[in-house]
């Protein structure tokens, strides 16, 4: 077990490093950042001076290593090209907004996904199951941002019940979190359902039933507990899905979180900020996966054998 955790930890660190490297090199794929940063009418000498001052004239690998050193030692991703504020500060400033939105969305999604998935699995092939699985299919086909815009049109414009954008109060959170939750719902629901179905096919459930236990007891005490194992993994793995969804949701609702910052920074070519966000997101995803794996290994000893 210890060996497993240590090995996974090393893998996680390596993945993070690789991601930081890719995102760094990505900036050098096309042209040098100097051209993106300076106005097009800049003189060649100006460009040279600018490059020197930013250290852009050194070999790419050296630049990456010095970037990495600064990040690891001081958490310094460089200053934003646009606002001249340290990129990390900009990122940290935006974390709470995204966190609030994400938590609410996960809560909403799971509050629906767990009962729906269970009903669908227990009442397999009934009308309820068919309806729920069809709903999941519809949900998966729904472009998240369109769903958000439709919510705005219906509840914001036509009915006028909810504010269209902004982040001042809880009311502002309702539509964004529903949008993001709806994005997660079908995936979660399918996973609960298939996890539950797996468990229901196990011998011990049949035994429990054969013992004459009440169906409710069987479901809650035996089936649900074991069906939760995939849920743990999923919640960890979902961080990537969640963050991706947050980027879109925040853009649609002008929610002042990390996602919107990411989109704005990419559009403006503000690479220090983009890099800080990418590394931060990658860290979240990798740690999420790591925790999920370890937790699953604790719950289900068979997985360690892999």
């Amino acid at each position: 077990m210890k060996a497993y955790i240590i090995r996974r930890l090393f893998q996680a660190i390596a993945v993070c490093l690789a991601i930081s490297m890719i995102s760094f090199f990505l900036l050098f794929l096309n042209s040098d950042p100097a051209l993106l940063l300076l106005p097009p009418e800049a003189e060649i000498e100006d460009i040279e001076i600018f490059k020197k001052s930013m250290g852009l004239d050194r070999p790419v690998l050296i630049q990456y290593l010095s970037f990495l050193k600064k990040v690891l030692l001081h958490g310094d991703f460089g200053n934003s090209f646009v606002s001249k504020i340290p990129a990390l500060d900009l990122v940290i400033e935006r974390i709470p907004a995204t966190l609030k939105l994400s938590l609410l969305a996960v809560l909403l999604a799971n509050a629906l996904a767990i009962p729906m998935g269970m009903i669908s699995a227990v009442k397999r092939y009934t009308l309820a199951d068919n309806l729920i699985t069809f709903l999941a299919l519809v949900g998966q086909a729904m472009p998240l941002y369109w769903f958000g815009i439709m919510l705005i049109i219906i509840f914001g414009v036509f009915l006028g019940w909810l504010p269209i954008s902004g982040s001042d109060s809880f009311v502002h959170m309702i539509m964004p979190s529903i949008t993001l939750g709806a994005w997660l719902l079908p995936v979660n629901m399918r996973l609960v359902r298939s996890g539950m179905l797996d468990v229901l096919n196990q011998d011990y459930i049949r035994t429990a039933r054969a013992k004459g236990l009440f169906e409710k007891t069987v479901m809650i005490k035996h089936a649900f507990k074991n069906a939760m194992i995939p849920m743990v993994t999923v919640t960890g793995m979902q961080l990537s899905l969640l963050l991706g969804g947050a980027v879109v949701t925040e853009t649609v609702f002008a929610w002042p979180g990390l996602g919107r910052l990411a989109v704005e920074s990419i559009r403006m070519g503000d690479y220090p900020v983009v890099q800080a966000i990418v590394v931060f997101f990658a860290l979240c995803v990798v740690i999420g996966n790591l925790l999920a794996d370890i937790l699953t290994a604790f719950i289900d000893p068979r997985i360690r054998l892999e």
């Binding site: 060996a3 240590i6 090995r7 090393f10």
Partner: protein, 328 residues
């Protein structure tokens, strides 16, 4: 134990195959599964050699080492006097032509997405084995040889019964025009009524194609009639080897006697009245017992058995036993 190499098509010397067990952060090798632990035997040209043992005794591993599907840990395999480990690509191709394999599970050994003609004929096509005629003609001949019909050519494996599938597998092996066929439990997945048919087919093909056989089985009854000589394996070691007749009439090793006793003796008189069956399970090949590997289950065990590893002893002509009872 090996007298002369000249008439041997295959000679195995001190073959070992250990599978490493990896644990820890860096996946360090912390132990080995000793699937095959130092065995030697020869297979004469035109001979049918049976290899018998319980599941997990390493007999399938031997087959896969012989086919070069596994890299061997130690020892050497000589084909026509040449070490197969040293074969380069063209030599290996030649070897693959000469030595073919029939697999255990006729349901897993045929590609479900290929037609019969392609299963059998692919090798002929790829290696250009048909002379002056279409490869399909060769496939037709092969089908006839194994008792199938030409009309089966365009069918898929799932349309056949287990016995028919095994016939297809045999035809596929014959397509390479081999000299030696290694059959890994060729009938153990089949109904008893079908088993004899396949065994008889193998026997007939041997004469028709001038083949040598190495036939692996977990059941002595299967190899009884077809084999000239039989090797009894236990836990990666050879326990006894003798001609068909000697082994049945004068089994020397306690393990062989136990195996013979396990054959249901309907209408047949068994040597010795006492029905002896061995107890317990096969020990783990990760930590095999010290001394004689069979001593933990041996009915004739005495004090020396757990300390000294027995050597092969020739008790009568061509009858070799690895048991301390026969130590000279």
């Amino acid at each position: 134990m090996i007298q002369n190499y000249t008439d041997s098509i295959l000679a195995v010397r001190g073959l070992k195959k250990y599978f490493p067990i990896k644990t820890g952060v860096l996946k360090k090798t912390t132990g080995f599964v000793r699937a095959v632990d130092d065995i030697s035997f020869i297979l004469r040209r035109g001979e049918t050699l049976g290899v018998v043992g319980e599941s997990g005794c390493g007999k399938s591993t031997v087959a896969r080492c012989l086919m070069k599907l596994y890299d061997i840990t130690e020892g050497a395999i000589y084909f026509n006097g040449k070490n197969i480990a040293n074969f380069n690509d063209s030599k290996l191709l030649e070897y693959r032509m000469m030595v073919q394999m029939i697999f255990q599970d006729p349901y897993a050994s045929l590609n479900p997405r290929m037609r019969v003609k392609d299963i059998i004929g692919e090798a002929i096509r790829v290696h250009g084995l048909s002379k002056n005629r279409s490869w399909k003609e060769d496939v037709k001949d092969l089908l006839n040889n194994v008792g199938l019909r030409e009309s089966h050519m365009a069918r898929y494996p799932h349309e056949f019964s287990g016995g028919q599938r095994q016939r297809i597998g045999i035809a596929r092996a014959l397509a390479m025009k081999p000299k030696l066929i290694i059959a890994d439990e060729p009938v153990s997945a089949l109904d008893v009524s079908i088993q004899a048919q396949i065994i008889n087919l193998l026997d007939r093909l041997k004469a028709d194609f001038g083949l040598s056989y190495l036939i692996i089985a977990h059941d002595l009854a299967v190899v009884e009639h077809i084999s000239d000589r039989i090797i009894v394996m236990y836990l990666g070691n050879i326990m006894e080897t003798a001609s068909d007749k000697d082994l049945y009439n004068q089994p020397a090793h306690p393990y062989t006697r136990a195996l013979l006793n396990a054959i249901p003796d309907v209408g047949k008189k068994q040597k010795g009245n006492r029905r002896m069956l061995i107890k317990g399970d096969v020990p783990s090949p990760i930590n095999p017992p010290s001394g004689c590997c069979f001593h933990t289950r041996c009915p004739d065990m005495f004090s020396l058995c757990s300390r000294e590893k027995p050597k092969m002893v020739e008790i009568s002509k061509n009858h070799w036993v690895s048991c301390l009872k026969y130590k000279r």
